[in-house]
C-alpha cells in the first residue's frame, strides 16, 4: 500500500461496514474498506431476515437488483416441549405489498451485492486483508490500521470499526471489553436445500412468499435460546442459538442441540428430503443496552454487532447494524464538510444521532431482558413450555373428565412447579423487563 491517505477506513464488510462505507463513498469521501475474507460476505453469518425500511433509507432502489429470497407473509412463534408445539401464527395478505417490509436473504450473496454498491459509489474494498492493530499517533489518537499485509500502516482521518461481535481490534486496543459469555449467544445453522415448489407446498406459499418460524422451549435444554426456521427461495435456514454461558455451564454440544431441534416431530417433516450444503456458527450479541461500549473516541467509531447493537427481544440485528453504519457515515461526512477534525468531541455527533434513532430507543426499552433471560432460563425455557404443553393437550383431549377438573389440574401443575409466589414474581419480573 502506498502512502495515500484516506478520509475513512472501514474495518469489515458486513451490514454495518457496508452501510457506513456506502454512505461515505456516495457522499464523495475517499473510503477504504478492509475485509479479511476472500470476498465480502465470506466470513459473515446470519439467519437471515432483511428489514427493507432501513436498507431503503440507504439504497432506495435496492429491490431492483438486490438478491432477495422471499418476502415474508407469515410469522410463527412456537413454544415447544419434546413432542409438541403450541403458539401463534400471524399471516396477512397485507404483506403482499409492492414494497414488502421483510425479506429472507442469503447473507453471502447479499453482502457481495451490498459491497458492489460500495464500489459503484467509489469506495475501495481490499479483501483477504485482516486488520491486526490500530495505528496511533504519539497522543494515542487513532490514525489508521496495521494489516497482515507487509508494509506500513494505512492512514485515515477516522477508522470505522465494523468488525463484528468478535472483533479483535477494539477489544485488543482497549476501546471496549471482550463480550462476556452471558452477553453472547452461539448460533449454529444449517442450509437445507429443497426444490422451490416443495417449500411453497409445505408452508402454503405462492410465488416468492415466505414464512418464518421462531421456536423456544425444551429444544434449548433449559438454556436461554431460540430456534429458527426461515424459508428462502430453494433452501431453508435452520438453526438454534443459546447463550455461551448456558452452554459452558451445561456442557451441551451445540451441534447435538441443533440435531435435537432438527429431529423434533414438528420440524422434521418440514425438512424431509433436503440436501444440506453448509454448517455455520456465529456469535450474536445479546447483552442489550447495558452491554453497549463507548461508541466513539479520538479518530474512531464503532458500529453494528461490535457495538452490541442487537435487539434480542425482537430478533433485530442487521437493521440496527445498517442504521448505525449509516448514521456513523453521515456524522463523519458532516464533520468532514465542516472542515473539523475527527476528535472524540466532534465524533460525539454520531452518538447523539444514534441516541435519537430507533436503535438506542428500542434497546433502552428492553434493557432488563438480557438479565432476566440469563437468570431465569430454566423456568422460561423448560418449565413453562412443558406446563403450557400439558395444559394445551389436556384441553384438547376428550376423555370424560370435567372441564373444571381439567382447569384445576392445569393450575395445580403450575403452582406445584413454581409455587404461587414464584408465579407472581416471575410475572412481575417479565412485565417489568418488558415495560
Amino acid at each position: 500500500m502506498s502512502r495515500e491517505r484516506f478520509d475513512a477506513i472501514v474495518v469489515g464488510a458486513g451490514m454495518s461496514g457496508n452501510a457506513a462505507a456506502y454512505t461515505m463513498a456516495s457522499r464523495g469521501l475517499k473510503v477504504l474498506q478492509l475485509e479479511r475474507g476472500e470476498y465480502p460476505g465470506s466470513k459473515n453469518v446470519q439467519g437471515a431476515i432483511l428489514y427493507a425500511n432501513m436498507l431503503e433509507g440507504i439504497v432506495p432502489n435496492f429491490r431492483d437488483d438486490a438478491p432477495l429470497e422471499r418476502h415474508l407473509v407469515e410469522q410463527r412463534l412456537w413454544i415447544m416441549d419434546d413432542t409438541s408445539h403450541s403458539g401463534m401464527h400471524y399471516r396477512s395478505h397485507d404483506f403482499n405489498e409492492q414494497r414488502a417490509n421483510r425479506y429472507t436473504i442469503v447473507r453471502v450473496q447479499f453482502d457481495k451485492w451490498f459491497a458492489g454498491k460500495v464500489r459503484e459509489a467509489g469506495g475501495t474494498i481490499l479483501c483477504e486483508t485482516t486488520a491486526t492493530k490500530l495505528a496511533r499517533d504519539c497522543s494515542g489518537n487513532v490514525i489508521g490500521v496495521h494489516t497482515d499485509r507487509a508494509g506500513r500502516p494505512i492512514l485515515a482521518d477516522v477508522v470505522v470499526l465494523a468488525e463484528g461481535v468478535n472483533g479483535v481490534l477494539g477489544t485488543r486496543m482497549g476501546l471496549r471489553d471482550m463480550p462476556k459469555s452471558q452477553n453472547v449467544a452461539l448460533a449454529v445453522k444449517e442450509m437445507h436445500f429443497l426444490p422451490e415448489h416443495v417449500i411453497a407446498e409445505r408452508f402454503g406459499l405462492t410465488g416468492d412468499q415466505g414464512c418464518v418460524i421462531e421456536a423456544l422451549g425444551t429444544i434449548s435444554r433449559g438454556m436461554a435460546g431460540l430456534g429458527f426456521l426461515y424459508t428462502n427461495r430453494d433452501s431453508i435456514s435452520l438453526g438454534i442459538g443459546c447463550l455461551v454461558s448456558g452452554l459452558a455451564e451445561s456442557m451441551e454440544s451445540p451441534h447435538t442441540v441443533l440435531n435435537g431441534f432438527k429431529c423434533h416431530p414438528s420440524i422434521k417433516p418440514l425438512l424431509a428430503g433436503s440436501e444440506v450444503k453448509e454448517y455455520a456458527a456465529h456469535l450474536i450479541p445479546e447483552g442489550g443496552f447495558r452491554a453497549i461500549p463507548e461508541l466513539h473516541g479520538e479518530g474512531w467509531v464503532v458500529v453494528g454487532d461490535a457495538a452490541q447493537l442487537n435487539n434480542a427481544v425482537h430478533r433485530e440485528g442487521s437493521n440496527l447494524a445498517m442504521t448505525s453504519g449509516q448514521i456513523a457515515g453521515e456524522a463523519i461526512c458532516t464533520i468532514k464538510n465542516q472542515g473539523r477534525l475527527m476528535t472524540k468531541d466532534n465524533l460525539s455527533l454520531y452518538k447523539s444521532m444514534l441516541d435519537k434513532s430507533f436503535v438506542i430507543k428500542d434497546l433502552i426499552k428492553h434493557k432488563d431482558v438480557p438479565a432476566l433471560l440469563h437468570t431465569n432460563s430454566q423456568s422460561l425455557f423448560s418449565t413453562y413450555p412443558k406446563l403450557l404443553s400439558q395444559a394445551a393437550q389436556s384441553f384438547v383431549r376428550v376423555e370424560g373428565s370435567t372441564k373444571i377438573e381439567k382447569e384445576k389440574a392445569a393450575i395445580d401443575a403450575f403452582i406445584k412447579a413454581r409455587s404461587r409466589w414464584g408465579l407472581v414474581s416471575d410475572a412481575v419480573r417479565i412485565a417489568r423487563a418488558w415495560r
Binding site: R36, V108, N259, V276
Partner: protein, 98 residues
C-alpha cells in the same frame, strides 16, 4: 435431510469450504497442568469440535475445521489459556451462503 439425522460433526464440516493455512494454526492452547472448567467446556461446546483431550489429559486444538465463531475466545482468551487470532486474510472458513 440425508439418511441419518445425526451426522457426525466431521461430516457437517465436510459440507463447508475452507482454505487451510497449513502449518499456521490461528489458535493455540497454552501448556497447562490440568484444564480449567472453561477449557474443558470447549471440548464439548466448540461447534466444530476443534478441541479434544490428548493422552496426557491436556486440552489440544486442531483448527482446520474452525468456523471462526469466537466462542473459545470469549471463554478462554482473557484467562490466558489460549492464544487466539483470526486466520491470515483469505484463509480459514469461506462461507458459500453464510
Amino acid at each position: 435431510m440425508s439418511e441419518s439425522s445425526f451426522e457426525p460433526i466431521e461430516e457437517k464440516l465436510y459440507w463447508n469450504r475452507y482454505l487451510v493455512d497449513a502449518g499456521r494454526p490461528h489458535i493455540r492452547v497454552r501448556r497447562h497442568l490440568s484444564p480449567s472448567a472453561s477449557l474443558r467446556a470447549l471440548t464439548k461446546i466448540c461447534p466444530a469440535n476443534c478441541y479434544s483431550f490428548d493422552d496426557a489429559g491436556q486440552v489440544k486444538v486442531v483448527t482446520d475445521g474452525c468456523l471462526e465463531c469466537g466462542t473459545c475466545r470469549v471463554l478462554c482468551e482473557a484467562t490466558g489459556e489460549i492464544d487466539w487470532n483470526y486466520p491470515r486474510g483469505g484463509f480459514g472458513i469461506l462461507f458459500k451462503f453464510g
